[in-house]
Amino acid sequence: MSAPAKTGGLVVENLTVAYPLATATVLGVDGVSFTVRPGERLGVVGESGSGKSTTALALLRLIRPPGRIAGGRVMLNGTDLRGLDEAGMRAARLRVVSYIPQGAMNSLNPVKTVAAQMRDAILDHGERVAPDAIARALEGVDLPAGTARLFPHQLSGGMKQRVCIAIGMLLRPQLIIADEPTSALDVVTQRQVMGTLGRLQTETGACLILIGHDMGLMVQFVDRLAVMYAGRLVELGGIEEVFAAPRHPYTRMLIDSVPTFENRGHFVGIPGTTPSLARLPPGCAFAPRCRFAMELCRQVVPPSREVAPGRSVACHLEDVPLAPPA
């Protein structure tokens, strides 16, 4: 494996986010490692509480105290994001790492026009606003130039989400983190918004992380997939391999919980609920919900091991693709 310092793109090593509670310290993100090459799209899936959004916030260094990043390295194209001081990180947000939030409707300032919000973002990063910067940014997301004069309430949900993307792309960031950017949109708008995001990313060659829980969307959009459970990365690999031949039972169940075209009206939820991070079982966190759980699983946390180049899984099971249940 190549030395991470030489690798372009995003290199995350052993990222850990800790929340101190009265009785114990809870790890919201527990030793997560992955890389995203320039121009590559990584999907991060998991149920709510799996740590996927916390991972995103940690990359942006926006974990709210008393939570804190307790360890790990985050390198983006050779820059150590954890090594930046607060002012440096503030300048890096949007310019180097941009975040496209889930609820676009709540992220825009309701009393400012689209143009004013874009101008603010550029000025705040100490740049001059080129005369056609705003029109070009809007054109980039397929919005007419006239949108600049409008207020958020005059825009549809899809248009607001595009404005958020336009703002996120203003300074041509090296890393885009999109946290369920289309979960509130209908499928047509979703496809358009994802198309726009994908095109801009391809043009700029940025790294992209898409956080979500919709396996269908992941299959359509990302190159590689990371599956998180209870703060840990349980499976990582190319989308085709992970989807066609998952190795972790949790990944298998996530895939099976999404009904396919052929499987009409067939609902398979994942039984049980995600464990509380404050009361994780001693072994594998997924063992209580796993149909393959063995004695070993209840005692020893399975380490993440590389089963093929770029493909890793954290499970005690033998390395075989898991077939769907009959």
């Binding site: 397929d142 269908g216 299959v219 996530l254 994942i270």
Partner: protein, 301 residues
Amino acid sequence: MPRPPDARPDARPPLLALAGAGKTYGGGLFHRNTVPALQPLDLVVDGEQPPVIAVVGESGSGKTTLGNILLGLIAPDTGSIRFEGQDVWSLGRAARRGFRRDVQAITQDPFSAYNPFYTVDHALTVPLREFGLARRHAQAMELAAAACDSVGLNPADTLGRYPHQLSGGQRQRLMVARALLLRPRVLVADEPVSMVDASLRATILGNIVTLNRTHGIAIVYITHDIVTAYHVADEVLVLHRGVVVERGEAADVIGNPAHDYTRLLVSSIPWPDLDRRWGDADLRGAGRDAATTSKIQETTP
């Protein structure tokens, strides 16, 4: 020609029927512009063989207006809504109470459905006593616990807690349990799973389908998500800007869409299938397609 829902002398009138019901907003003193939210439409919810009807549309399509008309919360300004043959808006006090019990709602946001000052039991036991389904509190709690069980919730983990102590999925499943408790005849579910994860989505939709199949409750499932509509519904109505552009048997509408808008919807479904990629344009190649551009031009104010 829409047939009046009570024109069948031999049969009982349908449980719930819209005849030419439509709604236009605005047009008041300060709003000269009127917005036709829902063009007149007919819809029959049969009580003999209770269906699952999905209403699919994007934001602004009029789907929530339709849901609110069905719930008797908004009066249609053209046409009528009839419950067992009687106009809902001229029901007497007792009949209106019956309508309120028989036609229940599940809303999108499972948090705002609860009063944050009470434990979640309140949302379950009050209507039980209000509608005379349980006389004593203990009896109401027993029924509530049984309803929790039937949607796969552990009563000990859920009852007695405050809404903020439960996860979104638990709150929404509790709403399904509540619907089950009251044994309504129609359940209008407006985006019930848009705020929960995909894995829980399957569980909750499974619960809703069970309400229909084993308890005979007719379901009107309102959603922006044509995929879940396909999996849940018998009949699908596709709404686009207040107009029903296509309706019919669910497998037929999605398997063989006739209207351009439905075709666009179906081709945009992100199927979890490596061989069934997004419409004609694979977004990993990520080009812009004609549909995108034309739609944006249309929606520009």
